[in-house]
């Protein structure tokens, strides 16, 4: 080792650390433009297929937990949806598309606010197909909420208020366990690999689609 290198070896050893620190110090945009804008922090299902999901709403003024155990009941293609009277009504999907019925089972404290989640089917390539209203047409009965029962949605936050979420006046409390249904449109030929449930990115629950659950 030369005299110069020996004399400066401490600084030379610290140089990579300084370089890495400099890069990390200028990486705030990764948080702002990437990490919080997408689904990057998944919670996998346990051996019984249940995801014990935990997240929180926090806008700096109001904070409340989002905690639920979520299981996938079924993922199946549909061509009709039952009306309120029990009559099967045909489904019209866009050209080259099909409609899937996703059934989910939730177990959660009735005092936990769970409204406002989003649900998607993910295929083997990782392409995400979000459940969105008005992507197909049917006179059948489609739910308003995706992660809570329409009749008993439980506590809900008031937009613009810092008050804790509460159950609307005259509404019954949400049961501790319940099923929900949501419809997802994908191109024909898509094989669902998983169903994702999330409230606020980057956290999401990933429920694998077993062969038994999918009749696609």
């Amino acid at each position: 080792m030369s005299t110069w290198a020996r004399r400066n070896r401490k600084a030379l050893l610290l140089l990579p650390v300084a370089a890495i620190t400099a890069v990390l110090a200028s990486s705030s945009r990764i948080e702002d433009y990437w990490w919080t804008k997408g689904l990057h922090d998944g919670t996998k299902a346990d051996a019984s297929g249940v995801v014990h999901f935990s997240d929180a709403y926090d806008d700096g003024y109001l904070t409340y937990p989002i905690e639920a155990s979520i299981a996938l009941k079924a993922v199946e293609p549909v061509t009709t949806i039952q009306s309120h009277l029990g009559k099967p009504e045909p489904v019209t999907a866009p050209d080259g598309a099909m409609v899937w019925r996703v059934g989910l089972r939730f177990e959660a404290d009735p005092d936990t606010a769970l409204s406002g989640c989003k649900i998607a089917i993910v295929d083997a390539d990782g392409t995400r197909y979000d459940a969105e209203p008005r992507q197909f047409e049917s006179r059948g009965s489609t739910p308003i909420h995706t992660c809570v029962p329409d009749e008993t949605p439980g506590p809900q936050a008031t937009v613009g208020s810092t008050a804790a979420p509460k159950v609307a006046e005259g509404e019954a409390p949400r049961p501790p366990a319940y099923d929900t249904v949501v419809y997802v449109v994908t191109p024909v030929g898509v094989k669902p690999r998983a169903v994702r449930v999330w409230w606020f990115p980057p956290k999401y629950a990933e429920l694998p689609v077993e062969d038994a659950a999918s009749r696609g």
Binding site: T92, P94, D95, A97, T127, Y129, E132, E137, V185, T186
Partner: protein, 199 residues
């Protein structure tokens, strides 16, 4: 007076500082300017060609124009110039996206912005499921004199068109077509944009 004589190590340090400053200067000169670095990624296409953008594939399917257009949804637009009607198809490859922003770049290098939020110049492109095609239209009010040779850039973000792909379509408009459109007596009907197979 005796001038201080630098030692070899001091000379070396000075040389390293000058080398670092020179390298910085070279980098500044060769890296794109802020204006260029912050621009959209532009993909040039012709009418009928399909281009793959980060958010999906886009094909400009037709161009028409008139002094007066009657959209199936919305009010009739009458212009002292021309209203350009550009039809295009978009098939998203990522969720929650569609085409919401455009720029008509005419032969006089004027830029007319057109977006989802526009009133007389407006893009209508219903958001389809991933992998499904939606039929869209862009209505752009423009000066007829510079339409021959105009291009239309189309992208996904009306809030900030930079930092993403934009398709730049050569509209292939001729002087003869501009004259025909100006002379058109009846309002031009514009079908309602819709996801393919949906009303």
């Amino acid at each position: 007076m005796r001038w201080p004589v630098p030692r070899r190590a001091q000379l070396g340090t000075g040389a390293l500082v000058i080398a670092a400053l020179s390298l910085g200067q070279v980098l500044v000169e060769h890296l794109p300017s802020h204006q260029r670095a912050g621009r959209a990624f532009e993909r040039e296409i012709a009418i009928g060609q399909t281009v793959q953008l980060r958010t999906g594939s886009l094909t400009v399917t037709g161009v028409d124009g008139a002094r007066s257009v009657k959209p199936a949804q919305g009010d009739r637009v009458v212009s002292p110039g021309l209203v350009l009607v550009v039809r295009f198809d978009f098939t998203p490859s990522v969720p929650e996206t569609t085409i919401t922003y455009g720029e008509l770049r005419d032969a006089d290098e004027r830029v007319t912005t057109v977006s989802l939020f526009g009133v007389r110049s407006v893009i209508t492109c219903p958001r389809p499921p991933v992998g499904i095609t939606t039929h869209c239209t862009a209505l752009v009010e423009a000066a007829p004199s510079a339409l021959a040779g105009a291009q239309l850039a189309l992208g996904p973000s009306a809030i900030d068109p930079r930092f993403d792909d934009m398709a730049v379509a050569d509209l292939d408009i001729t002087e003869r077509e501009v004259k025909e459109w100006k002379d058109r007596a009846e309002p031009l009907d514009v079908p309602a944009p819709a996801v393919a197979g949906m009303s």
